[in-house]
Symmetry: C2
Subunit: 316 residues, 2 copies
């Protein structure tokens, strides 16, 4: 994956732990039932085969067939043909190549498209005027601004200038927010591509550790979010003494956000505890927050800080 050597995500699904990098026993060609064979193949250390090379080209052809059928049935219901408007700024050769590929592929599946070409000295205001017009144009179903943009233009501002419902690159702040909350959203195409490759190949990620090497906000982060997600918005449970001293490294700093009310046999009263086995863990950690008297009062303080920030209109 695109890597910035400075950081990675290690995510874990909802089942038991397995070692880093998800291992798949499922061949993209074989039925799930045959999965065991490849697995045994490794375990009984028979002759090692090279990896199955996943052809994104072939998979993309298949998906484009599906999209083409989707487009035709959509139109057959009396709807207008989907229309993609691409804003291309300057003369970056790579950007022009990418845009040509997108236009060509759109045509192949029956999606109308147009390129709005602007010189590299175009003003941010003009770009926002263009996105506004496209936002309001009922013929236009999707809008894409090919990145990167020249330095004098703020990419974030321009991405947020596209109506979220037409933001087919999924870079609008609302689409990012929805993605990070497991809500339906238009997902950034690269992250979506990785997800689709994994799903269609039958690679199992559920309950596995997955390393996402790369901390970029337009690739690594959304990929991590997709892989982390299970489509359910869960409320935190909170379990007294879930974190025991054997889980904690000598000298670790432990911050307990848990809130649990338990019956105290000593006093017969109900008392508040966190998720950490405080008495045992405090002997091993270098720093620890108690419950109550730890994160709780700090949370109230930070709420008030936010209120002051809001009053000062510092953020918005």
């Amino acid at each position: 994956m695109t890597v910035s050597a400075s950081a990675f995500w290690l995510l874990r699904g909802r089942l038991g732990r397995v070692s880093a990098l998800g291992r798949s026993a499922v061949s993209p060609l074989a039925a799930p039932g045959t999965a065991g064979r490849a697995f045994r193949g490794f375990r009984s250390s028979v002759l090692r085969h090279d990896a199955i090379i996943i052809s994104g080209t072939e998979m993309a052809k298949q998906i484009q067939k599906e999209i083409q059928r989707g487009v035709e049935s959509w139109i057959s219901l009396g709807n207008g043909r989907p229309h993609l408007s691409i804003i291309l700024v300057g003369d970056n050769p790579a950007s022009h190549t990418y845009v040509r590929k997108k236009i060509k592929a759109a045509a192949a599946v029956g999606i109308c498209s147009e390129i709005i070409l602007k010189p590299k000295d175009v003003s941010q205001e003009e770009l926002l005027d263009i996105t506004n017009q496209l936002n309001m144009d009922p013929r236009v179903s999707g809008i894409l601004v090919q990145l990167p943009l020249p330095d004098h233009v703020d990419e974030r501002t321009v991405c947020n200038g596209i109506a979220p419902e037409k933001d087919v690159d999924g870079f609008h702040i609302i689409n990012i927010g929805r993605l990070c909350l497991d809500q339906h959203s238009l997902i950034p195409a690269t992250a979506s591509a990785v997800w689709e490759i994994i799903k269609r190949t039958g690679i199992e990620t559920f309950g596995k550790n997955v390393v996402v090497a790369g901390r970029s906000k337009n690739a690594g982060m959304p990929i991590a979010m997709l892989l982390h997600t299970d489509g359910e918005h869960e409320r935190p449970g909170g379990i007294p003494k879930l974190i025991t001293s054997d889980m904690v490294k000598e000298g670790a700093a432990v911050i307990d956000v848990g809130i649990n009310y338990v019956h105290d046999p000593m006093t017969g009263k109900t008392k508040l505890v966190g998720d950490v086995d405080f008495e045992a863990v405090k002997k091993k950690a270098s720093f620890i927050t108690p419950v109550p008297g730890g994160v709780g009062p700090m949370t109230v303080a930070m709420l008030l800080k936010n209120t002051l920030l809001a009053a000062k209109k510092i953020i918005y």
Copy 2:
């Protein structure tokens, strides 16, 4: 931390790797310069001391003093007193306790507040009417809807009904999106509390592995985002052969998102490669995507899929 046993985040900062759970050598009381002592204390295995118990109560008092000064200086400039409006639905005792604490703390720092109390059978429409009025009210600087809400009300819809600039709980989709993109935003108070405890205690997280146990969207996810973030929006670099076979587990599935143009000594031409040492890694992995012909064409296909989704208005 609040834990759902089903998943965790393991994040890594920008420096070298250290083992799980950040270790701090810095006492919250001692100056940074004295950090080494505690560290040597561990290394030379002198008598092990219990963890320093971080008092959130004391830290919160300090922060509230700072907020109080901030409020007074803000008012002394002729500005109105910050005002927090809290919407409280039903008679959940815990919710009433939390709200009382917030009101009391607000008063202590000179922030006006009001509770808008509604019966548990209040309609979602009425709640949205209330947030609309508060959004438009120039006296109101912050709005908070105490969660949980009754089942017949969609919490997400109500949270998004608050103007982002008044959303002091930081749950609006735009504040979540901005947080996940390292932009300034109103940060959820619990995540903000954890961050502030770490920073003020002098616990070093830069370059360390930090385990965030808990996958909730209102605590675990924003905490993971804060800890992962370095405040810089980085573009992916992409480095040919950055991922070598020794990094890859036998049978792993490897998906390469890298795009690099390199000079091919054989042909003398420029060729496209990913970030993975393909020839070596394919001998060890179970699945691998090539570059070109892997993620690239899939990305284009997914863009078109998004365009069709947008045309069908399936998501918005």
